[in-house]
């Protein structure tokens, strides 16, 4: 409940900022034309009104004591979130996305499949290793070999060497 209020207030501040920012940064438009700033500003006006309306609904729906209680629980909830599987999953996702190009597809895919599988409760490591290798091979052959979709090999020299070696093995298979 507290997160909803925080997100709405942050959105409101961002929308107001964007309204003035887009007006200040766009070239002045002719009096008979719609300029580059007018369409986003029209959207932002509707957005700001909708957020204000949503905030009104929020305060109408929840009593003061409920909101106070939600904010009292907010810090423990945040701590709980940082300890949760969801947060670990989110971190894994972000790390995977940022490593995808430098580490390369093959290594990223194998490691991510094993790590996320363990996060989802699979304890048989051998099973995860085997399935990860098989799935990586299927994805690589399906997309790269058959469809010609480019998959990154990575920048890190030894990982690139491994990727090239595995590619040779997969192509051989």
């Amino acid at each position: 409940m507290a997160i909803e209020l925080i997100v709405n207030i942050l959105l409101l501040i961002f929308s107001v900022f964007c309204f003035f920012y887009v007006g200040a940064t766009m070239p002045k438009s002719a009096p008979t034309e719609l300029g580059a700033e007018q369409w986003p500003q029209a959207i932002l006006i509707v957005l700001i009104i909708s957020i204000l309306w949503n905030l009104r609904n929020y305060f109408k729906r929840n009593s003061r004591s409920d909101i106070a209680q939600a904010f009292k629980n907010f810090i423990p909830d945040v701590v709980k979130f940082f300890k949760s599987k969801l947060f670990v999953g989110m971190v894994m996702l972000v790390v995977m996305a940022w490593c995808y190009e430098p580490v390369g597809f093959l290594a990223t895919c194998i490691l991510f499949l094993i790590a996320y599988g363990m996060l989802l409760g699979e304890r048989r490591v051998w099973f995860l290793v085997v399935t990860s290798l098989v799935i990586t091979m299927i994805l690589y052959i399906g997309f790269s070999v058959f469809l010609g979709v480019l998959l990154p090999r990575g920048y890190v020299p030894f990982l690139r060497e491994i990727a090239l070696f595995l590619e040779k093995v997969f192509q051989g298979i």
Partner: protein, 505 residues
């Protein structure tokens, strides 16, 4: 006309050509089902197969690939909530809930039948009405095109009738995201905050994949403590809808076939807008609009009929006037130009075989597609038997490949990941991710057409120009309908409240 039809069928039923069509249909369905491989990409990937074909065979092959790829996209939308092609995004609204209820087989059956009917209907329209419809579409200016796109946006208030305010916020956020990047008319960076990476704008496909697929896996990460396959769908087989079920959605199919074909003919519109408009129209006209989004066959029939009908419609301006109706049609056109074919009004006069062969190819491939898709769907359904600890991360990796394949840049993978996280916040705060995607998809089209309409309209001041833009008959009617449709869910409860006291008196 009959001779023309026979000549087209004669080409298609030549043994080698028929085998090629079957191959193209399998290829297209598979390409369409893979996330990140759009219909345009599917057609592009099919071009190398046409290098040794003559021009007529080449277009027959490419058209079969195109039609099948649009259908293939709906399969992953139903089974994994990953729209294989952007036009399948509305299919996820009811397709995935049906799969979760253990009705994946029926959802796939409805999707295949409706896709085939939509495709065959538009093929017939293309053959019979090609020249006339093209003339009508050509008279549409930017203001009419804006009105048509705006009709697509009118779905916003009906996506979640008990949560209208948050749905509007989500839609507006989508429209705002579409504003990021180079201004479509002036070419100046807008809302980029000085970040070079944002100059090219927010790519639609990674955002869509992130919000739909990655968010879903994150949601499942919270839910699943032990290993299990996705609920109920593991035993699913493609199950054709019964005659009674088909009869119950007959008007949905008819309306969406007509609407999809018309939208497909409009240059720049296409299958994605057709799918969204068909979904919104059917929700408005339905006797049970509140059930849309919960997993009903009407919600699958509407977008799937619409997007396949649009695929046929987009061939009309291509063949009659040499104007591609969409990206895939543009790729097909370039493939034909490579073969020395001059596209334009004279093409059908000098070589009527192009029209008849294209029609025959669409007709036949839409029928073959049902069988091809059943086989491919069977493989995809088997995938659902895999434990979620393997399937979940695999979905994320497929989504990653799909996002990367859009432009071969890691920025899109990062965008997908961020979109997945934002999607989770959106869901947590009870905003509507479908509305956000709708805004993102239609934003650029709406804005560029509206601003073009203002630029070419006469007037001494903005008010006069506005009146000139919106007083065009088609624009005025379309905008009026859209506004009524937009306001209907907002005003309906208030009107009901006003009526109630009178009734009790």
């Amino acid at each position: 006309m009959f001779d023309l039809l026979l000549s087209g069928l004669a080409i298609v039923f030549q043994p080698t050509m028929f085998i090629l069509i079957v191959f193209a249909v399998f290829l297209g369905t598979l390409f369409g089902a893979l996330p990140g491989v759009s219909a345009t990409m599917a057609v592009t990937l099919a071009i190398p197969f046409t290098y040794k074909m003559d021009a007529v065979r080449a277009i027959v092959f490419l058209v079969a690939t195109y039609c099948a790829s649009i259908t293939g996209g709906g399969m992953t939308a139903i089974l994994f909530k990953i729209p294989g092609v952007p036009s399948s995004a509305p299919t996820t609204y009811d397709g995935y809930p049906m799969a979760q209820k253990g009705q994946a087989g029926k959802a796939l059956g409805v999707q295949l039948i409706c896709s085939a009917i939509g495709g065959i209907f538009s093929a017939l329209c293309m053959l019979l009405l090609s020249p006339q419809l093209t003339q009508a579409a050509l008279s549409f200016g930017p203001s009419e095109l804006f009105a048509i796109s705006f009709m697509g946006l009118s779905i916003l208030t009906s996506l979640e009738t008990d949560n209208i305010c948050r749905t509007i916020i989500s839609g507006m956020l989508g429209l705002l995201l579409a504003c990021i990047g180079l201004d479509p008319l002036l070419g100046v960076p807008r809302l980029t905050f000085g970040n070079r990476l944002l100059t090219s704008g927010i790519e639609m496909i990674p955002v869509m994949i992130g919000i739909f697929a990655v968010t879903e896996v994150l949601k499942q990460t919270v839910k699943r403590d032990k290993l299990e396959a996705v609920g109920g769908t593991a035993q699913a087989k493609t199950e054709m809808p019964s005659f009674k079920e088909l009869l119950s959605i007959k008007w949905t199919i008819v309306r969406c076939s007509v609407l999809g074909t018309i939208i497909g003919i409009l240059p720049g519109a296409g299958a994605t807008i057709a799918a969204f408009i068909c979904y919104s129209t059917e929700q408005k006209l339905s006797k049970y609009p509140e059930k849309f989004g919960t997993g009903i066959i009407d919600g699958i029939a509407a977008p799937e009929t619409g997007n396949n009908a649009a695929s046929g419609g987009s061939m009309v301006p291509l063949l009659s006037l040499g104007i591609p109706g969409g990206n895939a049609a543009a790729v097909m056109m370039s493939a034909l130009v490579l073969k020395g074919v001059t596209m334009g009004p004279l093409l059908l006069i000098n070589q009527p075989l192009f029209l008849s062969a294209t029609f025959a190819s669409m007709f036949v491939s839409n029928i073959i597609m049902v069988f091809a898709a059943i086989i491919i769907a069977r493989i995809f359904v088997q995938v659902l038997k895999i434990p979620y600890s393997v399937l979940g991360p695999t979905i994320i990796m497929m989504a990653t490949i799909g996002a990367f394949a859009t432009k071969n840049t890691a920025v899109d993978v990062k965008l997908m990941a961020i979109s997945g996280l934002i999607g989770f916040v959106v869901v947590t705060c009870r905003f509507n991710s479908s509305a956000l995607i709708l805004g993102l998809v239609l934003g650029v089209i709406c804005e560029s057409n509206l601003r073009r309409a203002y630029t070419i309209a006469n007037g001494d001041n903005l008010l006069q120009v506005t009146l000139n833009v919106f007083s065009r008959p088609v624009t005025a009617v379309a905008i009026l309908i859209s506004v009524l449709v937009l306001l209907n869910p907002v005003l309906k409860p208030h009107l009901a409240k006003l009526k109630k006291p009178k009734a009790t008196v």
